[in-house]
């Protein structure tokens, strides 16, 4: 307990010092509040946005797009990755095209996304789906390819049929890789959602910080950025917990 407290205090030193220096700079008028508002002003703005419900509304809007886009991308990537990983023929068929498309950043699809889907949620979800698709796909393929042959031999010896071999042996054996892909995919989705909200929609955290820029509300911009950080952290922690649960059998997690 004492140890915990000690490390907490040690970890808090740098942020507290930074905040104090920042606050001092702003109060003394060393920098203009438009360039860098005081942390106390940011906190006040954040609190205000929270109470007004705007923050909650924007967070939910952003999160909704991340979830729908990610699920759409992963739902395509997972079965494709499983079949490509297990069939060299399909791999040979699809891989060249995918390798060509993969380096194109989702952001580069923005003009097409607007042409195809207009404004609102659809282009945003489309961009996020593309962002999530490739990490999940590539990791699923390598997960399936790295399944230890001994499991397949043991399963065949037990008389396991093709379908069960796929769902009960190859899929779980590949989960560590797949989950790594999911985690990277969610990270990408989170980046893409903020960018996409800056162009095609009129709510969400990305939209809100861009809107604040129009009025030079720097305190609101920073409050929005901090919310993005907190949301990302929460998403990653949730993912981490899921990971630990699904991989509780995995050797790598031994303490």
């Amino acid at each position: 307990m004492q140890q915990h407290l000690k490390s907490f205090v040690r970890g808090a030193i740098v942020p507290v010092v930074v905040l104090l220096v920042w606050e001092a700079c702003a109060r003394t008028g060393l920098v203009s509040p438009i360039v860098l508002p005081a942390p106390s002003a940011v906190a006040a703005k954040w609190w205000e946005a929270l109470l007004s419900g705007e923050l909650v509304h924007d967070s939910i809007a952003s999160l909704y797009r991340v979830v729908v886009g990610f699920v759409a991308g992963a739902a395509l990537a997972l079965p494709l990755g499983l079949t490509m990983g297990s069939s060299p023929r399909l791999y040979g068929l699809f891989n060249p095209m995918l390798q060509l498309l993969r380096p194109i950043p989702p952001i580069a699809y923005i003009p097409l996304a607007i042409l195809w889907f207009g404004l609102g949620n659809p282009p945003s979800v489309f961009l996020i789906a593309i962002g999530a698709f490739f990490p999940v796909l590539m990791n699923t393929i390598s997960g399936v390819r790295h399944v230890d042959g001994i499991y397949l031999r043991a399963a065949r010896n037990l008389g396991v049929g093709r379908l069960a071999l796929f769902t009960r042996v190859m899929l779980p054996a590949a989960t560590p890789y797949i989950l790594t892909g999911v985690r990277i995919g969610i990270g990408t989705a989170f980046i893409v959602v903020i960018v996409s909200e800056m162009i095609a929609v009129n709510d969400g955290l990305g939209y809100r910080i861009l809107e604040a820029r129009e009025f030079m509300w720097s305190d609101k911009i920073i409050a929005g950025m901090i919310t993005i950080g907190l949301l990302g952290l929460a998403l990653d922690s949730a993912m981490n917990a899921l990971n630990n649960h699904l991989l509780r059998w995995h050797r790598g997690l031994e303490h």
Partner: protein, 265 residues
């Protein structure tokens, strides 16, 4: 005289590599009766695992045939359960799920399955570990689970590929005794690959000593020492000496061949 259960006739296995062909098995003829405990003994590279894999159906012979109960072996199947040296348990399944898996894919009813799994876990002293994952078990425990998994399938034949090779001496003896108990109780036919002379004498009805490349049968020896065998008794040691010199001849050929290969490289 009982009909033989496993008939290996004129089996030959050639592995083709880019540089050369390696004859792993040559002119293997063996007949094994139901309930027999046979050890395949020899240095590494003598083809004993290759022969076991051929009987298991993982890697079919280049020529010749293997028949089990009159049927030619063409693929792996649960009537020839395999215990691997590296355990090959499914790490994402608990002990009980591993043992039940083969029954589950066979479509056995939940009740019958639970009953059989329980009784096997009980028999192999795994009851307290039924909900553990393999990573939490010692090597000896894991191999017990692998044995239970094969027993669950009720395979008449158990194929074992150096199953105790990675275990310490005490655990090994312990599992050998357990295996003999299981063999006596369930009346399985066991083909057991090992390079330990002592292990083969301790376990087998019959020891098939194999030669280093090409793998042929050098000696087919029936062990006459009554069970339960005492490794310190005179007969045991005499046989150990005798088989030991046979195996060492092959080991020396193995070493010489490796030296020659290294010189060529």
């Amino acid at each position: 005289m009982q009909n033989p259960q496993i008939v290996v006739s004129d089996v030959q296995k050639v592995f083709r590599t880019q540089e050369r062909d390696v004859v792993a098995l040559k002119d293997i003829n063996l007949t094994i009766k139901q309930g027999e405990f046979v050890c395949l003994l020899g240095p590494s590279g003598c083809g004993k695992s290759t022969l076991l894999n051929a009987i298991a159906g993982f890697s079919l012979p280049s020529s010749g045939s293997i028949q089990v109960d009159g049927q030619a072996v063409t693929a792996p199947g649960p009537e020839r359960g395999m215990v691997f040296q590296e355990y090959a348990l499914f790490p994402w399944m608990t002990v009980a799920q591993n043992v039940a898996f083969g029954l589950e894919v066979k479509g056995m009813s939940k009740g019958a399955m639970a009953e059989r799994v329980d009784s096997l876990l009980d028999k192999l002293h795994l009851k307290d570990f039924r909900n553990r994952f393999p990573k939490d078990l010692s090597g000896g425990m894991r191999q017990r689970v692998a044995i239970a998994r094969v027993l669950a399938m009720d395979s008449p034949i158990m194929l074992m590929d150096e199953p105790f090779g990675a275990l310490d001496a005490l655990t090994r003896r312990n599992l050998q005794d357990e295996l003999l108990r299981i063999w006596a109780e369930f009346g399985k036919t066991i083909i057991f690959v090992t390079h330990s002379i002592e292990e083969s004498i301790y376990l087998a009805d019959r020891i098939v000593v194999m030669t280093y490349r090409p793998g042929t049968v050098k000696r087919d020896h029936r062990v006459a020492i009554p069970r339960h065998r005492d490794p310190s008794c005179a007969e045991f040691n005499e046989l150990k000496r005798e088989l030991g010199s046979l195996v060492m001849e092959e080991q020396q050929r193995h070493a010489a061949a490796e030296m020659k290969l290294a010189a060529v490289d």
